[in-house]
């Protein structure tokens, strides 16, 4: 049995929906970014800054980062609860899984702060 150590995941169904909703945000966002790099000839510093620090792109980048945090947290949590069980990870599995979850959350928190500082620096 998976013992829930961190009780963030109140409902599996809402996680499922959030993971799909965030995927539907991240897919057009990826197209947007790829489209910019693919269609901009002679990329230079000015074009890059002008594009990324327009208000709509600042909002889009912030939204995308929030989506990544939610999506990746649910995804990494799912993977942890699939493999970091006593059957696979030994009798300290609960501890290992909690540590793993803390590392994932910590990394995502750093990503979030880093991204928001970058996006809103100008």
């Amino acid at each position: 049995m998976v013992t829930r150590v961190l009780k963030f995941n109140h409902s599996g169904l809402s996680d499922f929906m959030i993971q799909r909703a965030t995927a539907m945000i991240l897919t057009p966002y990826t197209f947007l970014i790829m489209g910019f790099f693919l269609t901009t000839s002679e990329m230079d510093y000015g074009k890059l800054v002008e594009f990324f620090f327009s208000l709509p792109m600042q909002v889009a980048n912030s939204l995308a980062m929030l989506a990544i945090v939610a999506h990746a947290w649910i995804g990494m949590w799912t993977i942890g609860t699939d493999y970091l069980l006593e059957a696979h990870a030994g009798k300290h599995a609960n501890f290992i899984r909690s540590a793993y979850q803390v590392v994932c959350l910590g990394a995502l928190f750093i990503y979030l702060v880093w991204a928001f500082r970058l996006v809103w620096q100008f």
Binding site: L26, T27, L38, Y45, F53, L85, H88, A107, A115
Partner: protein, 156 residues
């Protein structure tokens, strides 16, 4: 008469044996449930069909992307910091190792999105038969290679 009673006795014994056997089987089941529940994730005993390989690769690409966000943030940080930073970021992705990482991440993201969209279609029961999943998996692999190739050629 004697013969019949023997017969009845015999069949009863058979029945009891069968019953005992089934009781002990279900006992094993109960014991298993409580002590060591069956685990279906022993990756070493599975034989993987293509759809399963695509599925596990989707998972692996998710983990790579999780780490890849750090690379993307680092490169973006560098590129927008200053004119010199932009030149340094350009040099970073022109370097074979940087190019390998960037192209690898593009391929990873492409696979994750294409396989993810297929996953979403299957959530709506589009293409979720065994046969469709096989061709869908081939489509995921081909699309990933084609899109990554096209993006790579256009960027460099």
């Amino acid at each position: 008469m004697l013969c019949r009673s023997l017969e009845v006795d015999g069949s009863l014994r058979g029945l009891r044996q069968a019953h005992n056997a089934s009781v002990s089987i279900s006992n094993i089941g109960v014991k298993r449930m409580k002590t060591e529940r069956p685990v279906n994730l022993n990756l070493l005993v599975f034989r993987f069909p293509l759809a399963a390989i695509v599925s596990i690769t989707h998972r692996i690409t998710g983990v790579i992307l999780f780490a890849g966000v750090a690379f993307a943030l680092y490169a973006f940080d560098l590129a927008v910091a200053s004119e010199q930073g932009f030149v340094a970021a350009k040099a970073l992705v022109a370097h074979p190792l940087g190019m390998f990482v960037l192209l690898g991440l593009i391929a990873t993201l492409t696979f994750h999105i294409v396989a993810g969209l297929k996953h979403l279609l299957m959530d709506f029961h589009v293409g979720d038969t065994v046969e469709a999943a096989f061709y869908g998996s081939i489509a995921v692999i081909v699309l990933t290679i084609v899109i990554t190739g096209a993006v790579g050629v256009t960027l460099w």
